[in-house]
Amino acid sequence: MGIKKPFSCTNSLYIMVHSHEGGTRGIRNPPGPDEARPRSEVWPGHYQLWPRAQSSVLCADPPARGGCRQSWPNGQCALRLSFRTSNNRPPKPYSDPVTPRVSSGWLSASLLFLLLSGPLKDLCKPEDMKVVKDCINITRSFCDLTHVWVNTTDMYVSRVVGFREKAELVNCMGSFFLESDRPLDPPEFEIVSFTNHISVNVKFQSIDPRILSEEELQFYLAFIEEHAGNSVKRYQPQITGNITENFNYVIDKLIPNTNYCVSVYFEPKDPRKINRSPLKCTLFQPRRESESSESATMGGIITLFLITAVFISTVMILKRIGYICLRNDFPKVLNFRRLSVWVFPELPPLEKVATVEVIHINRKKKVWNYNYDDESDAENEAAPCVNSGGYTKHGLTGRLCPASTTSASLEDCSDPNAEEPYLPEPKGDAETPMAPGPGPWQSEGTSGGYQTRGTLRQDPTSEEDSDSTERSEGRIVFNVNLNSVCVRALEDDKDSEVTLMSPSRPEETVVLEDLNETESSLSVASEERTQLPFTDPSMECLRPQDAPSDQSDTSESDVDMGDGYIVRQVNLKKFN
């Protein structure tokens, strides 16, 4: 029996094939999509069809024409398309239990197909459905369509017709859109068991790029199933970025001493066509001993590192605050390592120290009208006198100023009309110590001769102070800025000093309120005295800065303290 011509539109479109006698071979029904079946191994990129029992209307003829033939009356028929992505295994014939079992004769089949988007012609014409040359009168259950169905972006409608003898036993059709219908074979993967997790390494490079491109990998995510006993847990790893080679997924939170099996597969376009990989199993047994030793080692290293860091930081802090490794940058004068220093120690220069008591006096400020003009007549003004030593002296009262003086200010000071002492404005502290004066008081008793001696008017604002001589009680306290005091060494004028010490004179007490400042100022004054000795006692002058307002008349007395200092004591007659 040869190949018959296809029927017209009034009959089913199929091709009769010859039949063989003998044997009980028949088309075996493949298992369902969800049933476990031996993995079919196909040459890479080969497409194969397996007839599968499934109910369907097989005929293209309208029922009214009566040409519609049913399929295998007791069974079902369907076509199944499969792909293969790996490149290393040869195809194997597919074998399945035969249902129903054909009692006699051979069953041969042929495969036909058409391209749905092909040229639109009369469907009944034989050109509309093409027969696969390698699949005519075949007795195997699969047909290789690799080189036949090349358009992956089109819809293929296929038909398989099987006959035994003259009876049509199989007549099934199916449609396939290759791009979306091709099931993806699972990728290769490896599993490694660690102390607390299992790592699944999926190898994407084993995928044929013709089947699944690099970018499509990101969308057809690999599902990982974890089988532990009777429970199955599914993971969907998130593939981010471009992953073209390997993808690693970690399964944690595992139960110790449990056997875990992992299967990997691509998310199918058709949910019914999941193609799982074989399970790979491993026993999850955390290594506690090694883990503990590792953890102990790590802990020891970390502890040692911390101790070292703390020690170093402590040393640095102590060094920085100077507690240790203090720098010995002493000045040279403190360097006692020199032998000459020990042999010939240098004694520090002696300092002259004197005790002075200063009493502050508040006086009315007198505005000094200084006229630095050379032609100006300083005699008519209360201008300070400047001697050759650079001191400025001011006359306190007319009584205190010396009779003869070359200084104009002294004449001013001796002006009996001057009721107010020419006291310069005090600087700063009212307690400025004042030098004990040999100055103005001394001037009273000098050989140069003061015209008068009397009490130092302490309160310029008070008329009563001008009559201080009448007051014998109290003390007058006034501030004397020792820096502006003319002090001279009285070694040459000891007689005058003695004169000053005559008891006929009323005592005058000058109280230094600030002994410290007094000492310093006295030392300065002493130096000045030694450096700049006055030859003219008339040049000695004292310029008290402040005078307390409550002080009135004073009486003066000088006390020789030695070393050229004379303490002028002024006794206040009236002390508020």
């Binding site: 749905l116 988007s117 469907l123 791009e179 979306s180 970018e215 499509e216 376009k269």
Partner: protein, 186 residues
């Protein structure tokens, strides 16, 4: 003044070029994802094309869809946008006779609209250039093709087989879209 404007123009041109380059890469990724999702959704719509062979029709599929051709990325943007727009328009028609899930159709429409929103800024910018390119010819062919689809559905009264045939065409359209997406490169 002139030099100042020139500098600003140069900076703006560089920035726009950089921005567009980055957008094409992002567009490619988004379009690829959208195509895959749409194909999966279409696969969820049950149909048996082998039972509707006799109602096939020649829709004058553009030659650019039949045979692979080279596209500029600007042309690819125009063609993709036009196809998405047309598919969206077809899916909004009456499909009640098919028994398809409305949820699936809605998901498809949402996915298409989202992708069109991503393409619209670049599509408008390309249209402003007003240069007649091959993409414009392809768009014209596509307009005719989708018009035929719409007329086919209307003439078949939106029956199940008509929608089955149109669905097959849409599967082919998304395959063509995936190939066009590959041209969206910097």
């Amino acid at each position: 003044m002139t030099y100042r404007c020139l500098l600003q123009m140069v900076l703006l041109l560089c920035f726009s070029t950089t921005a567009l380059s980055r957008n094409y890469s992002l567009l490619r990724f988004q379009q690829r994802r959208s195509d895959t999702v749409c194909q999966k959704l279409l696969r969820q719509l049950p149909s048996t094309p082998q039972h509707c062979l006799e109602v096939r029709m020649d829709f004058q599929v553009p030659e650019e869809m039949r045979q692979a051709q080279q596209f500029q990325k600007e042309d690819a943007v125009l063609v993709i946008y036009e196809m998405l727009q047309q598919i969206f328009s077809i899916l909004t028609r009456d499909f009640s006779s098919t028994g398809w899930s409305e949820t699936v159709i809605e998901d498809l429409l949402v996915e298409l609209q989202g992708q069109m929103d991503h393409l619209e800024p670049i599509q408008k910018e390309i249209m402003q250039k007003k240069n007649f390119t091959m993409g414009d010819m392809t768009v014209l062919h596509l307009k005719k093709y989708y018009f035929n689809l719409g007329q086919y559905l209307k003439s078949m009264e939106y029956n199940s087989c008509a929608w089955t045939v149109v669905r097959v065409q849409m599967l082919m359209n998304f395959s063509f879209l995936k190939s066009l997406t590959g041209y969206l490169r910097d």
